[in-house]
Subunit: 197 residues, 2 copies
């Protein structure tokens, strides 16, 4: 690190992403991160008290980039709600696929957190279900959608569950299988048909 | 084994189930099965040429019992197609839950086959999707259901995928979580709404 640069949490996280990509999720250490930043590992630990805390924070930041892209779809009120829902689901599947295929080391880190029942994963799922709920509520208020169950929160969770094969990391191995795009489209059409007013 | 009894494949499989339940999927051996039958292990190997073949056959028989129960739902033409579909999905979830919770050693054996991409799993899924297809085709021909996609096979697969959280063994740990029944009902209602004519 150039001596004039301040060691911020954000700089540590950006560097940790690089280190994870280069060394692999299993091998990367806090010492590697400190070395890449030109600081002592104690300096890193002042920001993240444990290696696990650093791993959580870097995964959260990585997931939040997907959430931000999806949020832009939620907020695009130029589209009717059904089209927004289709685009949101398509964007989510594409992002998860991209992360699993083109960013395998960060994806592996994410899978470690999944195994640990980390709050990061829970928050990520809550963010995504929250997006679906916004689309559904707005669609209902505009008369563009109808709910198959009484409550928008429950309906949002049902849409999330019903499309799980296309975003749940447990299915990542299937995302390059033949026929997966056709299967995805069929589930999306099923979901949209269920919400038609 | 009483000497007058013939050593059939069926008897070997029934005994293997018992042995798996008693010894556990990781520990049970062909020698244990032979001992329980009072025969040599060579006699068992005359029916099943490898331990893997025996494991596949016992799992298939175990899965086929679920398939047979589900088939009775498919064939119950006293019910309208939407009600049959609801009952079929409810029976499947109950059976998978029961297998995971009350029959953990056989479930663990099944999970081994899942990891091996065994043909047994593929056939089981094909059986289940075939059931759904029959219900959908009959529902459409009676005017009780409409398909959200052009082809009944694709629609059947979409229903199977959309309900995966409630039958895919990868989710078994969630099947005793609070709220799971409410989540299941919501996905079933979503699916039925999508198929309403």
């Amino acid at each position: 690190m150039a001596p004039t640069e301040t060691l911020t949490a954000e700089r540590i996280l950006a560097t940790t992403e690089d280190v994870l990509r280069r060394h692999g999720a299993a091998k990367a250490t806090v010492v590697d991160v400190a070395r890449a930043l030109g600081v002592s590992h104690a300096a890193v630990y002042r920001h993240f008290r444990t290696k696990a805390a650093l791993r959580e924070a870097v995964t959260e930041r990585w997931l939040d980039r997907t959430t931000a892209a999806l949020r832009r779809v939620v907020d695009d009120r130029s589209l009717p709600a059904d089209e927004r829902l289709r685009r949101w689901l398509t964007t989510l599947f594409a992002a998860k696929r991209e992360k699993a295929g083109a960013d395998p080391e960060l994806f592996a880190t994410y899978e470690v957190l999944l195994g640990e029942n980390s709050g990061v994963v829970e928050r990520h799922v809550a963010d995504l279900v929250g997006h679906l709920r916004l689309i559904l509520e707005e669609g209902v208020s505009r008369g563009e959608l109808a709910l198959p169950v009484a409550d928008a929160g429950l309906a949002a969770r049902a849409v999330f569950d019903a499309t799980g094969r296309f975003h749940d990391p447990g299915y990542a191995r299937e995302w390059s299988a033949p026929g997966i795009d056709e299967a995805f489209t069929a589930v999306v059409e099923l979901t949209l048909a269920a919400l038609r007013p």
